[in-house]
Assembly symmetry: C3
């Protein structure tokens, strides 16, 4: 008899934010990969929200991240004349910033490691002013 | 001797649009997952077009979706001075709006269900004025 | 006796750019799929950089691509007042343009072929002025 467990590993985790900004989550993802024992494949990161998102970003220069955050403040301002404005002035811009970035990213795993470039990090992009506890699902598929 | 067939289920489906706007396709995707019997893994949704796209979005407030649609009308206007303008004034903005959103989304499946947040829906974003029949491919990988 | 060939194939390749612009990489990806013998599944394309990105785009009309490139030049100008400006005026706009497009795309494989629409191509979007040798990882998962 053969029992074959298909190599899919899923883990739900949470990311605490302090309000608007980018929060690196690369290390948590790598730790989940380490535990999974999967050596070669992909990890799909997914946020279960419509007012925060995911983005890859330069992980060395905090000024570069501040420029990204400022760009989105200007491109999708809080004070535009939104029809949907009953949940606060930062609500509708959050949805649009989410649409312009991503809810899921899929990153290769090679030799048990996230196959990132030296300056690449994976960030949760919080678009609301208040702190939030954000749910993230990791799905690792491979061998 | 055992030959193990990897659990990949693919289905092509079509989405009829009535012109510009966002069309929720979450239920059709869930129905395909139900038929696939895959319990744990991911589904990759892919549109085979360059003038419509995919986005996750708030699925409760239609006003929020109208704000998103209006934002893209303003950010990528029809009346800009495009070089490629021989297929109508809504053609080139369609391509740019597609580039700014997504052609593919990968969503986790947990316990046979799309692992979405309570307000999250998956939408086809039609960028052309005329109705179109859009081709979508679903690829479910898991166990 | 058990014969189990796990269906994950990974390949790293490089794309030489001549500076800013979009470079089609569809054929290279298809060739890697051909070699992998995987018939049904997905390929995840991933660039290991934060100053170039990936996008799907119309592959027939070069004017359409020039319009996309021009749009990003205007939306994310070089001469904005960026805080992070020590690596040249094209550096910070590169990061923002990457954030607005993608670092990874996942495309279905059906009958051994990329399941693209007739006008769809996969492009590396170079955001820096100088030529670069860009690292791309392909992960093919399927059966």
């Amino acid at each position: 008899m053969l029992i074959f467990a298909m190599p899919v590993v899923q883990e739900r985790c949470e990311v605490q934010t302090k309000g608007k900004g980018t929060y690196e989550i690369t290390r948590q993802i790598q730790e989940t990969i380490d535990k999974s024992k999967i050596n070669s494949g992909t990890v799909t990161i997914f946020v279960q929200h419509t007012s925060c998102s995911l983005t890859m970003m330069e992980n060395a220069a905090p000024a570069a991240r501040r420029d990204v955050e400022r760009f989105f403040e200007q491109l999708v301002p809080e004070n535009a004349d939104y029809e949907h404005d009953d949940e606060g002035s930062d609500d509708m811009p959050s949805h649009i910033r989410m649409v312009l970035t991503r809810t899921n990213e899929t990153v290769p795993i090679v030799d048990g490691k996230l196959q990132l470039g030296i300056w690449q990090g994976i960030f949760l992009f919080e678009h609301r002013r208040d702190p939030h506890r954000r749910k993230v699902t990791l799905t690792i598929i491979g061998e």
